[in-house]
Symmetry: C2
Subunit: 707 residues, 2 copies
């Protein structure tokens, strides 16, 4: 389940290597992480603060402002990441990024996940139910404006609230002025505020997807492993006024691809890292947050596995949930492993000890920032008391219908307020996205909804206890499964028109509704709001105020040329194509199609290793030594899925789709000794499109043939 601390992206700054050389005391902890003495290929750099010096020093590459702007405007936020790859709005991303839409576009008769899809003509392209694409257009530093709202005499909670309101006002003003989608991003967990303005598109159509079995070849078994053999790609097209988007900025295709040791760059949207969380914060993650989330991943995986095993239709409607759960479980297991690794924790402890000593040795710094670490620890200590409760009240009932019901209940309460006073996700600048999801015609499956709700109700009871008043009221005298059946069978919200009517009717319509899920969402909402307020006041607000101090201490010591922790916004990473050693064995950077067929034969008949028939039949047509997947040291994390890998000429040489197992601790600390980003090679994409999918037109569009 999604967990509240997704809200609290704690900022992490990272000193540049060069500044470290003269400063022996502090950075040993982090130097160790990346190999002493070498400049690391580390960093998820802000588009407006690129690592230009680092790139020049280590690789002799100096991206121009035009190069950077071009890459920025050709990158798309599409859930995770993607890029524009033709002048006609063609988007390249991962299959597992597009799979939610593939599932929504599927029916029992048309199984796009299983069979793949290719639109030979624009008319055949399939319009997605609720897909949203954003291009980052401008960035403005509004830190001073935001902080001006917080007065020195305010409590952390009040200051947090005042800044939130000011942020909404700034966003709204910018939106009115520019007509762009405007959103303030909190960087370094509160040290900086940048206003990001996006072009936004909602007419997105499916162009091409391969079969899931080749996109995710090796299944859960090979996920996060390397060598790999996955064609994890998917193509969409953005439309504007019912015409393909004419775009000035798109990435050209590299026919040559990348070679070993070539510098490559990755532009994408890493979701969250916690690299410079305080030591106590990491302990909280290790002892509270990760165990809780892992347990729920394990439970849900077993429940979903049971669900999909019940028959072919269950498998079809449940496989995307199952993939997401397994993928998250494997990623969290890696992250948790890092938190349980005493070496990583010791590095963190040393680093923090030295930084705090430096602050304490400077009376002015001590007065300004000295209490930051303890304040964060105290806040997290308090959070322990209601962490599990907030998590289940907020996220246990992860069903489409409950989400719709809760959105309707909250919309009715929020819309009458001025935008700045609303829950942040209902502020004016967010409403288009809210309605896109609320009125999505995507199919909703009763059986899956029942399974999700029954699992969620069981989780609530298990976490809060069977006699808890909220649990008792939620179960309403039934067992979890009985209650789930009753809620889903009685729910009217599968019908989009019903949702529209309820939304139009506002609070009165909600109060009058007999829909059991509306009633349940309304009953749970007060406790949800109370817990959220408690979280914002006692945890998030305190974190913001005090991580701003931690960041200030880091800036004072290492300078400001540091990247912040990932925030789900556009970042630039870099590094060479490069293999690694594992168990004293060389893992080469590239695989090829021959390796795919070899692995298929080795694991023939095993789960996750089925090869689509057209790949079985098409083997002889393929150039088998075509590079297929490759690894590089670029610093990525979940959210980077679908990121283009580009060469210094700005051409696509690959498509990020994974990190290896050793990269999973990058959540906490970067380490390039074995950790690698994993990508599909641009050459494999073209070869497969032409030889296997008979999709020459799409290949031509990518390579610019006849353009």
């Amino acid at each position: 389940m999604n967990h509240p601390s997704t809200l609290t992206i704690t900022p992490v700054v990272r000193q540049r290597r060069r500044s470290l050389r003269g400063a022996r005391l502090v950075p040993i902890a982090l130097l160790l992480a990346s190999g002493v003495g070498a400049l690391a290929d580390e960093g998820m750099w802000l588009p407006n603060r690129p690592p230009t010096k680092l790139l020049k020093e280590k690789y002799g590459f100096e991206p121009t402002a035009a190069w950077l702007e071009h890459v920025q405007k050709a990158s798309v936020k599409i859930g995770a990441s993607g890029s524009l790859v033709s002048p006609r709005g063609l988007i390249l991303t991962n299959h597992h990024v597009g799979s939610g839409q593939l599932e929504k576009l599927s029916t029992p008769e048309r199984n796009l996940m299983r069979d793949g899809f290719y639109a030979r003509t624009p008319a055949e392209e399939l319009k997605c139910a609720d897909m949203e694409v954003r291009l980052l257009w401008t960035i403005e530093d509004v830190t001073d404006k935001v902080n001006a709202a917080a007065k020195p005499e305010m409590s952390a909670a009040d200051a947090f609230s005042a800044r939130r309101k000011r942020m909404s006002e700034i966003e709204q003003e910018a939106k009115d002025r520019t007509k762009l989608d405007c959103e303030i991003v909190t960087l370094y967990q509160g040290a900086r505020y940048h206003l990001y303005s996006y072009r936004r598109y909602t007419d997105v159509r499916l162009v091409m997807a391969p079969e899931k079995s080749i996109a995710f070849f090796g299944g859960d078994n090979d996920n996060f492993e390397y060598p790999r053999y996955d064609l994890d790609m998917c193509f969409f097209r953005v439309y504007e006024n019912d015409e393909p988007l004419k775009c000035e900025h798109y990435l050209k295709w590299s026919r040559a691809g990348a070679a070993e040791n070539d510098l490559v760059l990755v532009a994408g949207h890493p979701g969250r890292t916690r690299r410079l969380n305080t030591l106590d914060h990491l302990r909280f993650l290790r002892d509270v947050d990760f165990p809780f989330n892992l347990r729920n991943a394990w439970r849900r995986e077993v429940q979903l596995k049971t669900f999909v095993q019940r028959g072919a239709e269950n498998a079809r409607i449940g496989e995307n949930d199952l993939f997401g759960t397994q993928n998250g479980r494997k990623a969290m297991t890696g992250g948790f492993g890092g938190l349980l690794d005493p070496v990583l924790m010791q590095r963190k402890a040393s680093f923090e000890k030295d930084l705090r000593a430096a602050v304490m040795n400077n009376p002015q710094q001590q007065a300004q920032w000295g209490d930051a670490w303890d304040n964060i620890a105290t806040a997290l200590q308090q959070y322990r008391e209601f962490h599990a409760r907030y998590a289940v009240i907020r996220g246990a009932l992860r069903s489409d219908l409950f989400r719709l019901a809760h959105t309707l209940v909250q919309l009715a309460a929020e819309l009458p307020k001025p935008s700045r006073d609303r829950l942040r996700e209902y502020r004016e600048s967010e409403l288009e996205s809210v309605y896109l999801r609320l009125y999505s015609p995507a199919p909703i499956y009763d059986e899956l909804e029942i399974d999700r709700l029954a699992g969620g109700l069981m989780l609530m009871a298990e976490t809060l206890g069977g006699d808890d008043p909220t649990v008792a009221a939620t179960l309403a005298g039934m067992s979890p499964r009985e209650r789930a059946v009753q809620l889903v069978r009685g729910c009217t919200l599968k019908d989009v028109e019903t949702r529209k009517k309820l939304a139009a009717g506002g609070a009165a319509a909600i109060a009058a509704s007999d829909d059991p899920l509306i009633k349940l969402a309304a009953a749970l909402d007060p406790e949800y709001r109370a817990l959220r307020t408690r979280f914002e006041d006692t945890v998030e607000g305190v974190e913001r105020a005090n991580y701003a101090k931690v960041a200030a201490a880091m800036f004072a010591r290492f300078g400001e040329d540091l990247y912040p922790d990932a925030t789900g916004t556009l970042r630039l990473a870099f590094g060479p194509v490069k293999g690694y050693q594992e168990d004293s064995r060389d893992v080469p950077p590239f695989t090829n199609f021959a390796g795919l067929y070899q692995r298929w034969q080795e694991r023939h008949g095993e789960e996750g290793f089925e090869l689509p028939q057209r790949w079985v039949d098409g083997k002889s047509k393929l150039k088998l030594d075509t590079p297929y997947n490759f690894v590089c040291t670029a610093d990525i994390i979940g959210g980077n899925s679908g990121s283009p890998v580009i060469n210094t000429a700005g051409e696509v040489v690959g498509l990020i789709f994974d990190g290896n197992l050793q990269s999973l601790v990058w959540d906490i600390q970067f380490d390039e000794r074995q950790g690698r980003a994993v990508a599909v090679d641009s050459r494999a994409i073209i070869e497969a499109l032409r030889k296997i999918y008979d999709a020459g037109a799409l290949a031509d569009e990518l390579t610019g043939a006849g353009r």
Copy 2:
């Protein structure tokens, strides 16, 4: 994982229907459970207190003393349950009861789980590494002798300890006198103590097992479901002095089998029920015990699934663990569902309210027993504080090597003490079994051991926190997986001779050992003992003293003709062969071979639905309308696996192997509206042996042909 409350089998008494008719107030709760007004087919009856009146009244069947003795002495305790079915020591049990031995007898080249096994001659029978078989020979009520050890002035903890010592003395005296294996069974959680004396055999050889894919056809998907199509059988033979055991008492085979509505009886070893746990005890199970155990089942299932997916050899060595975990998870899910069902809990609450009111209305009873319920609640409240800690210290490291190391460490500490002062599992009467397991030559697989230990270390860290001193000491500065690798690679205990030397060397040898697992077990043992003492003093002892009062109150109100909760010892259950209704659809009591092939075709190619080639090839040879699996209302639970189903003539008509989903709440309350025991039909066993397995000799031995 195994959980401490397995130690505390709380007794449950059950009033006979007849006594209820006049006592309207109390038993409605339980009457409701079984259908008002009818005599229920309920009860796991003690062999020395059989339900003779009930059987006579409802079914007109009056088992004689000879009938009962014969069935008792033909029943075998073999992990779970089994029966002697020929005069030459042949044992019938379930495949999933024998599968641990099948795995131990397998190698990469000889996969008995996958391929099955049949010994055409005695010489081909395979001797099991560490299998133990017991026949219950005599029972003696020693309640007064045991209770005489506890003086009125003693605390509950002291009384508990004094009774424990007396029990060891009684057992030892009986063993010296009879040369039998003697064990006192605590019934009604402390109201009665019976001395059970067993004949014990350790030369047990594998005779026949079908392929796992037919024994467990339908896999996890169909487990606990009905209709079913499983040949879940396995045959062993007991040897004495290297000759097949000559047994006077064995069950004859019914060629006719049972028909719908025929009364059948089940003799087996139900492991644990909690039917008359107090309401607060059920709440504890619901809010603490079940959630904890379920979480560990989910985590372990996902970890094992990942393990077995890594390759064919992993699948072979890990599948038994995986089956056990999945089976336990599905059973617990059903039990947890019962605890979360407000209807079941309400029944319990009403029943308890009435019983307590009756006690409180009688001054003498009030003085004697009035505080029992609150005392139990208080003990469980205290248990909440260390439940998770005790569970992981006791059971997280479930690896063969750790178990061996811990046994060696404990043996060295316990053997020098007098038997009555030892930990109960090391008392003199238990030592033969201890050594059988300790010196078992069964294979131990490094990779599986590492996976088990890594998972266990992670569980410890997750439950106790990464900074916990025990966790830190256990991990010794490594990540869980690194530490697991170090422990297993460095361990010397795979070698049986090393174990024998260490055992012979006693405490000095243990102290001098450099084996990393010996050192770890020695380091963890003091905390384990401290927690165990705390548990026995503050929880188990209090439960014993107070459940004895609850039982006394029940005896006073309903008479003594009540069965106690399951204790893993021999019990007799009964009921007719009978279908049921589900979703307004009739589920008939029998399936047949034709249904097997039909289900195979429906689910062709899906996991768990593979049919062995000889079944595919042999279809035409089979009489397809042979009854295959059937259901009856006999009251069973986990531990009954392998129980013979017998007719009133004492002949085998079937073989219990499962209960349906609706029976899983029987842990808490019996309910025969839909709940059913599931068995293999005796006719299917003979048909399959003759037609599919070419095992005519074995079929002849069963049916007595030529005897």
